[in-house]
């Protein structure tokens, strides 16, 4: 069951169309929402939260209509906004417990849960410090903690690695990956940083100009039509290349000892044919993999 079903959604800011007749099902798991700046990613998130009233179309989040059940939806969602945000004058534990209370948790449980979530987000040592004294990385973590405190079914992360140094970025991505895999939390990560998305997500939705450009699993999107394979040999071997050609293969890439071939048949059949060619020509195979595009290539093709 998709976590969000969006049908012909159009959102306008005055004359500017931010989302243009967008229809997409966002699957369960960890989904990356990709698009260049101004593509409509943040607008989509804010529309799903009920912050913006769409001009037309409809959307259901966790089975609830955004037009009539916005507060019930927000009770089951957690938002980690792109901008730095906190409530002034509070310690971390007070802030996160308060976020839990706002979501409807009883006071005692909110406080207990705030301690747990802060530990999990790596702020256990700093939980009694005023949030205003936190570094950028700590503020990113506390935004995640306040989004997680009430146990949301869907977590919306808007540029979660914004402003983080490499080590902080790694830790944040580890956290996001850990939450989204095997913990019962669906995650929608909005970002224009492809390596981040590739690292934590299983599926992506690409939007541009407010329209859907691509949707599917990352593995599917990276796959190249016709199942070409990449082979790495110990050293260049012209006989091997010739043998593959004789077997009906086409050489797509020939870079020293690295080759990309396209052969007819299923991946298993292609594998058997190539191994046979290597045996016949005495070529020593050091690497073998189904060829795939980088996510960047897939993304650029989608938005072209």
């Amino acid at each position: 069951m998709p976590v969000a079903e969006i049908r012909n959604l159009t959102v306008r800011y005055g004359n500017f169309v931010a989302l243009n007749n967008l229809s997409v099902d966002i699957p369960e798991g960890c989904v990356g929402l990709l698009g260049p700046n101004g593509a409509g990613k943040t607008t989509l998130i804010k529309t799903l939260l009920g912050f913006i009233t769409p001009a037309s179309g409809s959307a259901r989040v966790l089975g609830m209509d955004i037009a009539s059940k916005d507060r019930s939806i927000r009770q089951k969602l957690g938002l980690m906004p792109e901008q730095d945000c906190h409530i002034p004058g509070m310690t971390a534990v007070m802030f996160v417990a308060y976020a839990g209370e706002l979501a409807g948790m009883p006071k005692e449980q909110a406080l207990r849960r705030a301690h747990e979530v802060l530990e999990y987000c790596g702020l256990g040592e700093a939980r009694y410090r005023n949030v205003e004294t936190y570094s950028t990385g700590m503020r990113q973590r506390i935004k995640l903690a306040q989004a997680l405190v009430h146990g949301p079914k869907l977590l919306l992360l808007d540029e979660p690695t914004n402003g983080l140094d490499p080590a902080g970025r790694e830790e944040m991505l580890d956290l996001v990956r850990s939450i989204s895999h095997g913990k019962g939390v669906n995650v929608l990560v909005s970002s224009h940083l492809l390596p981040d998305i590739e690292r934590v997500c299983d599926h992506i939705v690409v939007v541009m100009g407010g329209q859907l450009r691509e949707v599917g699993s990352i593995a599917d999107l990276k796959r190249i039509e016709g199942h070409p394979v990449d082979i790495e040999l110990r050293e260049p071997n012209a006989d091997f290349v010739e043998a593959v050609r004789r077997a009906g293969g086409a050489v797509l890439v020939d870079k020293a000892y690295q080759y990309r071939f396209q052969l007819p048949g299923t991946p298993d059949e292609v594998c058997r044919t190539l191994m046979k060619c290597a045996r016949e020509t005495g070529a020593q195979v050091r690497g073998f993999a189904l060829a795939e595009r980088s996510l960047e290539q897939a993304f650029l093709e989608a938005i072209r």
């Binding site: 939260l49 507060r71 019930s72 979501a103």
Partner: protein, 324 residues
């Protein structure tokens, strides 16, 4: 020794109880109050706001005690005692005017308390983007605004109400024989009615003004500007009134404009509710008194200003900046 923690620090999903998304404003109001009472200044200025009740209580106590001692001394000296059993201070005492004077003198302190707890109420949230936190939870704009309003209203109301009730209780127990209850049996109801007026006005003004700024000090300075400028005009009008009264008699227009400041309006409404023109403290003789302002007009003005401030805040509060 193992370096791993004893506690399980991995993420565990929360499947506990979640209250339905109603009355979120009360959570916001409670947190506002918690943050307010943590401020030392709140307690200091709140205590100052009750100073006139302390003075009244002390003067009344000594006046009665000294009067009794004087009667006793006169009797022992064989002189004819004063036949009137009521001490001089309490003769012709208008009790409600004492409460009115205390109410008037507390206004500046209540204003300071309002600045302390209210100036940053929305401005601080604007600076820290806290609206995204509030509105991404099952809180509506109504919950947010009402929570902020109530969070300012209740502390200021209590700061007004508690000393008033304590002083009423003291007078009720000590001075019934001097007409404290019989003079105006409904005084307690009237006092309960005037006590929320400053709180309502300051809460509305603070949420309205605070919503326009990102800095609490800017919001505070703006409200202080409005407060002192209108107070200055009222003082100027008061001087003009006295001068004109000496030359040509009272001017009804100046009488009405006298209540045109924040303090003036609150004092005027208190006079309307108490049904008095006021008199100097401690029953001092005077022929100067300002009649209450025209009742319907000032009520409409009060409610209108409060609603206007709240409406301004309502327009300013939004989860997303929409550029049309």
């Amino acid at each position: 020794m193992s370096s791993t923690p004893i506690a399980d620090l991995s993420y565990r999903h929360y499947d506990g109880k979640l209250e339905p998304p109603t009355f979120r404003w009360w959570s916001i109001a409670k947190m506002m109050m918690r943050l307010s009472i943590k401020k030392k200044g709140f307690w200091v200025w709140s205590s100052f706001s009750a100073y006139f009740y302390l003075i009244l209580g002390a003067v009344f106590y000594f006046a009665e005690t000294l009067s009794q001692q004087a009667s006793g001394a006169a009797a022992m000296a064989g002189q004819a005692p004063d036949t009137n059993p009521v001490p001089l201070l309490f003769r012709n005492m208008i009790w409600k005017d004492q409460f009115l004077t205390a109410f008037n003198t507390s206004q500046l302190f209540l204003f300071i308390v309002a600045l302390l707890i209210g100036a940053g109420s929305i401005a601080g949230d604007n600076r820290a983007n806290a609206l995204l936190v509030y509105l991404s939870k099952p809180c509506s704009k109504f919950d947010y605004l009402l929570g902020k309003w109530v969070g300012i209203f209740i502390p200021i109301w209590l700061v007004t109400l508690v000393p008033t009730l304590l002083f009423y209780g003291y007078c009720f127990l000590s001075y019934r024989q001097y007409g404290f209850v019989s003079q105006d049996p409904w005084l307690i109801v009237k006092l309960l009615a005037i006590s929320p007026l400053p709180a309502a006005f300051h809460a509305s003004a603070m949420v309205g003004i605070s919503s326009f700024f990102n800095q609490a000090r800017m919001a505070g300075a703006t409200y202080a500007g409005i407060y002192f400028l209108t107070s200055f005009l009222t003082v100027a009008i008061g001087v003009m009134r006295v001068v004109m009264q000496q030359r040509r008699g009272a001017s009804p227009l100046l009488d009405d404009l006298f209540y045109g400041s924040v303090d003036g309006m609150l004092q005027g409404l208190a006079k309307i509710i108490l049904g008095t023109s006021g008199s100097p403290p401690f029953n001092a003789p005077s022929n100067v008194s300002m009649p209450p302002p025209p009742s319907p007009f000032y009520w409409v003005l009060f409610v209108g200003i409060c609603l206007a401030f709240v409406a301004l805040a309502w327009r300013r509060i939004r989860a997303v900046e929409v550029i049309g």
